[in-house]
């Protein structure tokens, strides 16, 4: 049976006023001072290391946790480390209203689930999604369920290519599956 859903505790990346932080760029996710790191296993401690209010994220995160971010998440550089640092922490997936195009591709190609959800700003504003909630997300149907608050929401299901790469594991395995 192929994985099609994920359940985990969420971290809603909000600022001091409680608003979802938009345009979080890759230097806030994984600062350029650590770009020399090439081992995925070493990248976890730097996740969100330059994002005000979230610098202790690597200590707080548990395997399977879900990150909820504002629009244009992953703006800026093409660095794969900005995706890999979450994989290293075994974060389950990232939800955002939108991602930068390069960031989105990098995640898709690594087989790391990133999903777009247009309702996040509103859900977060009215506290229907709060840090600590237990949430279940179905990648293929696009159904989201907040277990803690017994509320549903919807998101964009994975596209065909995203789903295929995800199920094969990553772009390399996907390429091999048709002889590349």
């Amino acid at each position: 049976m192929e994985t099609r859903s994920h359940r985990g505790r969420i971290w809603v990346l909000t600022d001091k006023s409680g608003k979802l932080i938009e345009d979080v760029d890759t230097d806030q996710i994984f600062h350029n001072a650590f770009l020399h790191i090439t081992e995925l296993a070493e990248m976890g401690p730097y996740a969100l290391g330059n994002l005000e209010g979230w610098k202790d994220f690597p200590e707080k995160a548990r395997p399977g946790d879900i990150v909820v971010a504002g629009r244009n998440f992953g703006a800026g550089s093409s660095r794969q480390q900005a995706v890999d640092c979450f994989i290293a922490l075994k974060v389950g997936l990232i939800l955002a209203p939108s991602f930068s195009s390069i960031y989105f591709r990098n995640a898709v190609n690594s087989g790391f689930p990133v999903l777009r959800c247009g309702e996040l700003d509103e859900l977060s504003a009215v506290r229907k999604l709060e840090s600590g909630d237990e949430v279940e997300v179905d990648f293929l149907s696009g159904k989201g369920f907040n277990v803690s608050k017994n509320g549903t929401f919807s998101l964009e299901p994975m596209s065909a290519v995203q789903r295929d790469i995800f199920h094969k594991g990553n772009l390399f395995a996907f390429g091999r599956s048709f002889g590349r």
Binding site: E22, D23, D25, D27, Q28, H31, N32, A33, L35, H36, T38, N50, E52, R71, N72, A75, G76, S77, S78, R79, Q80, Q81, V83, S98, S100, S101, I102, R105, N106, N109, S110, S159, A160, V161, N170, L171, F172, G175, R180
Partner: protein, 416 residues
């Protein structure tokens, strides 16, 4: 149905049908990696494809521009990892003496009009300046491209940005670009390909076109094209590519998701204030803000004419005591021309610090970092919190940076 510029470029590199939203397999003319991303590509390649040949070594390149020459042991190691892999596989390295990879690929005639180019640089779309589709990608993508010469790509929607009106010097391409960032923000062209038209855009030199196209990344766009080419830009591109110039243009019945008009009549010089390249105000509103340092360079403003413009203002004047002005030519060729034409002499005599070509302070590894409390005015493209250090970075064109360094506070060239 007619096609836009990006749709034509992609269509000429795929057998799949091209339309916005479709996922196609696209051939990549040039695949490259830098000293950042490059060692990760090598590591991925050896793990996934160890012993298997590259799709085409002659289309594969390393360009070292981030930490050039290496100023940390980690980067020294990482660069050597790439060099060893390159030697083993017959791949050319544009080493630490060369300059910014995107600019080098253009100057060497490798990145070509109507071509497709990928690399581990999010400003790869700067190559839209010459009508090429450049795209920054992470190390997984680039590893796959090294091995296969192709990648999947979702064809973006196109949006037309009509730039109306004209401005006069000393307002520059950077001021136009910053103003467009103010109007377009990170939403209007997000995940789309933009075509900028209008007399002010058509009049841009190659350097000016590079400035505008580079910052499409900060607008969250996929790529930017300037389908009208002035005679200067045309000539400059032909010199680089050593071949006749015949760029794709969009069809009359091409489809655009949106058309946006922006008026730049009599636009004054602009400055982006921290913490975002989209927080843009006219320089006059910031005049008097004390600065500690200035930076001229980066892929956005590292061409000959950028430094010549600064030198024009600095000639016979001095950088204010206590202010650092850092000069980083984009490439060795730019450096050579600056040297030959006496521009570096002028900048040196004015008190500037001149270093070898490279990316500058966009990452820790070259010149242009800020300490806590430091205020820097830079011709770079990003001023996100903490990016260049704990200081505050303002973004502007070369003339504004030069004037500010002379006066010790943010100022326009007309304040001199």
């Amino acid at each position: 149905m007619g096609k836009t510029v990006i749709e034509k470029i992609i269509q000429s590199h795929t057998a799949d049908e091209v339309a916005p939203g479709k996922i196609v397999w696209m051939d990549l003319d040039i695949r490259s990696a830098r000293d950042f991303g490059g060692p990760n590509v090598v590591k991925n390649y050896e793990r996934e494809y160890g012993g298997m040949p590259l799709a085409d070594p002659a289309k594969t390149f390393f360009t070292f521009d981030l930490c050039a020459p290496a100023c940390s042991l980690k980067y020294a190691d990482n660069q050597q990892v790439c060099r060893d892999f390159a030697r083993k596989n017959g791949v050319e390295v544009y080493d630490v003496d060369s300059g910014i990879g995107t600019h080098v690929l253009m100057e060497e005639g490798l990145a070509r009009t109507n071509g497709t180019v990928v690399g581990t640089d999010s400003h790869m779309n700067i190559l839209g300046a010459l009508g090429a589709f450049g795209q920054g990608m992470g190390d997984v993508d680039i590893t796959f491209a090294f091995r296969t010469g192709r990648t999947w790509f979702e064809v973006p929607e196109s949006v037309k940005v009509i730039v109306k009106g004209a401005y006069r010097k000393p307002t520059s391409a950077k001021d136009l670009t910053l103003y467009l960032l103010k109007i377009l923000g990170t939403k209007k062209i997000a995940l789309r390909s933009a075509e900028f038209t209008g007399p002010s855009v058509a009049a841009l030199s190659l350097a000016g076109r590079l400035t505008l196209c580079s910052m499409v990344t900060e607008m969250a766009g996929i790529s930017g094209f300037l389908p009208e080419f002035g005679p200067d830009a045309r000539k400059e591109i032909e010199i680089c590519s050593k071949r006749p110039f015949s760029p794709f243009s969009s069809d009359g019945d091409a489809s655009y998701a949106e058309t946006i008009e922006v008026d730049v009549q009599d636009l004054p010089p602009q400055v982006a204030t921290p913490p975002s390249p989209t927080h843009v105000r006219p320089v006059a509103e910031l005049s008097g803000t004390k600065i500690d340092s200035g930076f001229i360079g980066s892929c956005t403003n590292g061409r000959f004419e950028d430094f010549a413009e600064a030198a024009r203002l600095l000639k016979g004047r001095r950088v204010k005591k206590g202010v650092m002005l850092k000069i980083v030519p984009a490439t060795r060729r730019v450096y050579e021309e600056l040297l030959a034409k006496g521009v570096l002499q002028t900048l040196f005599e004015a008190g500037a610090i001149i270093v070898n070509s490279g990316c500058g302070g966009c990452a820790e590894g070259h010149v242009g970092l800020t300490g806590k409390g430091e205020v820097q005015i830079s011709t770079g493209n990003r001023n996100f919190p903490g990016k260049q250090g704990k200081g505050q970075t303002y973004l502007a064109g070369p003339a504004v940076v030069a004037a500010s360094c002379i006066l010790g506070h943010i100022a326009g060239p007309e304040d001199l």
